[in-house]
């Protein structure tokens, strides 16, 4: 069968040589599609991750009449975890509270300097488990916490939770809409370029059919071609995405806002899956499009 293999590779080489214009075009199209697709996938996963991180910062603050003496702490902890398991419980003294307000106000916090610590109440900060995201559940938990001994008032950054929710919602809508449009656009692009390639090959496939070429004789070179195309174009697409990723990271990793997002690239497994999918796409696409020449 070495003989046949020789013919398959000869035919593949001939195809690549004859229609290198179309081949290059298809290569470019598919790699761009993959770039576009993975770009949005990357943006989306990073937004989700950023959402999780913001979620981490959800906490309920129980303002107290007086500082909790260290001996009481285990008892209070138990009372809280009896209702719902939590991530973490932090006891905040008056001094710490003042310090924090100062930081929160930023530069404008200077105005507090005259006042001195001690005017803010002590508090317990409760960080709920991740699954406690629903607003009504949080409210119920908050109501429970009011029943703690010495509790004056319970607060959670309701405004911020909502604000962040809206913000991610908006981003999600933008990413989804543009992602959806792009998936359609790339699907069109790829199917157009496959159609153009098939139109170019049509005459040859017809002749091969008429001179009685075996199905494998027709398919194998196309499979090899599709494999190469999928491999190359996903490589190029992902490579370009990585360059864009690096550029974005270096240009936006200044101080301030960006440590919140801390964007990351796909793990190797995802990269592998993407490459595999595009190889499947290329080989499958070309096979499906020529199936009518394999009939009879």
């Amino acid at each position: 069968m070495g003989h046949e293999t020789y013919f398959y590779f000869k035919q593949t080489g001939r195809n690549l040589q004859q229609s290198w214009g179309t081949q290059l075009m298809t290569l470019f199209t598919v790699s761009m599609s993959i770039l576009i697709f993975t770009f949005f996938f990357l943006v989306y996963t990073n937004i989700i991750k950023a959402g999780d991180r913001f979620g981490d910062e959800l906490r309920l603050i129980v303002y107290l009449d007086d500082e909790v003496v260290p001996e009481m702490r285990p008892q209070i902890k138990k009372k809280i975890t009896d209702y719902s398991p939590v991530e973490k419980i932090v006891f905040v003294s008056r001094d710490e509270a003042f310090h924090r307000l100062n930081v929160q106000l930023g530069q404008e916090g200077d105005v507090l300097n005259d006042l001195g610590a001690g005017f803010l109440p002590p508090s317990i900060e409760v960080f709920p488990k991740k699954d406690l995201k629903n607003l009504t559940l949080i409210k119920q938990f908050s109501d429970y916490l009011t029943t703690l001994p010495g509790a004056q008032k319970v607060q959670f950054g309701q405004g911020w939770v909502e604000r962040f929710g809206y913000f991610t919602e908006l981003l999600r809508v933008i990413v989804f809409l543009s992602g959806g449009l792009l998936v359609m656009a790339t699907a069109f692009m790829v199917s157009y370029s496959i159609r153009l390639t098939v139109i170019e090959k049509e005459a040859e496939l017809e002749v091969l059919r008429l001179v009685g070429a075996r199905s494998s004789y027709i398919q194998t070179p196309l499979l090899i071609e599709g494999f190469l195309q999928g491999l190359l174009s996903s490589g190029i697409g992902l490579g370009m995405l990585y360059l864009i990723f690096l550029w974005t990271k270096t240009h936006l990793s200044g101080p301030g806002f960006l440590h919140l997002l801390d964007i990351t690239f796909f793990p190797p497994v995802t990269t592998g899956i993407i490459m595999g999918m595009s190889i499947l796409l290329c080989t499958g696409g070309s096979l499906v499009s020529i199936r009518k020449y394999l009939r009879i």
């Binding site: 017809e206 002749v207 008429l210 001179v211 009685g212 075996r214």
Partner: protein, 246 residues
């Protein structure tokens, strides 16, 4: 499977075949014909009589609506795809509209018929050079077939049909674009192949081809045989065994 078929039985057997193109164009009506192994047969008839349709049925490019076609004893309606492909590799067809690849060289257009048999490059080269010489196309060997004159393209189509020295050859109007001298040359090629054992059916209008020779001629008339199977003085060639390329 064709070359091992016994020489004393009809290679092509057409029984009561009707072909209707949608919606209602009756191209062939209740046609029966049998072609012996090693025969050279002329198929004539006016334009639109159904000659091309008959040849297409024999090489499985079209399916009959009614009737049975047997090649080497096998019913074409019952053949699997791989068997049809195998049958086509043993049948050389020179189509009336040539079906050549305009962007490919003359050489490659002819080679394609042999490459599907995984024939070695050296064998291919030898055979093609032989055919190009006979058909006076040696100087066009590496020119894209689309840049040839129509007559030259027709010869490329004939060369491809004859390339594998197949046991069955179908030639559809093979001299329509050729001058009388070249037509004779082509007819000589077919006769040589026939002597080598190939069964050949030639559909033609060209009287000079079929006049004054010993071969049988059947005449189609509006999808039916005008001169129904008047069995001729047909002699199978002396050496009845086939030559196959590989």
């Amino acid at each position: 499977m064709l070359e091992t078929y016994p020489a004393d039985r009809p290679l092509v057997e057409i029984v009561k075949v009707t072909k209707v193109y949608s919606p209602d164009i009756v191209a062939l009506q209740n046609i029966s014909l049998s072609v012996a192994k090693g025969e050279l047969l002329f198929l004539t008839g006016r334009s639109g009589a159904g000659k091309t349709t008959l040849l297409k049925l024999i090489c499985c490019v079209e399916k009959p609506n009614k009737g049975v076609i047997e090649i080497a004893g096998k019913d074409l309606n019952k053949l699997s795809s791989p068997n049809i492909q195998a049958l086509r590799r043993e049948t050389g067809v020179a189509y009336q509209d040539f079906k050549i690849l305009p962007r490919q060289t003359v050489y490659r257009n002819i080679a394609i018929a042999m490459e599907v048999n995984y024939t070695a490059a050296k064998v291919i080269k030898k055979r093609i050079d032989e055919l190009l010489d006979v058909l006076k196309l040696t100087h066009k060997r590496n020119i894209p077939a689309g840049k040839l004159s129509r007559g030259e393209q027709q010869r490329v189509a004939i060369a491809r049909a004859a390339a594998t020295k197949p046991p069955l050859i179908l030639a559809d109007e093979p001299t329509g674009n050729l001058d009388p001298a070249m037509s004779l040359q082509v007819m000589g090629l077919f006769e040589k192949l026939n002597e080598g054992g190939s069964t050949i059916i030639i559909a033609t209008h060209d009287e000079t081809l079929y006049k004054n020779n010993r071969y049988r001629k059947v005449d189609l008339h509006y999808g039916q045989f005008a001169t129904q199977s008047t069995l001729p003085g047909f002699l199978p060639p002396a050496n009845g065994n086939q030559q196959k390329l590989i």
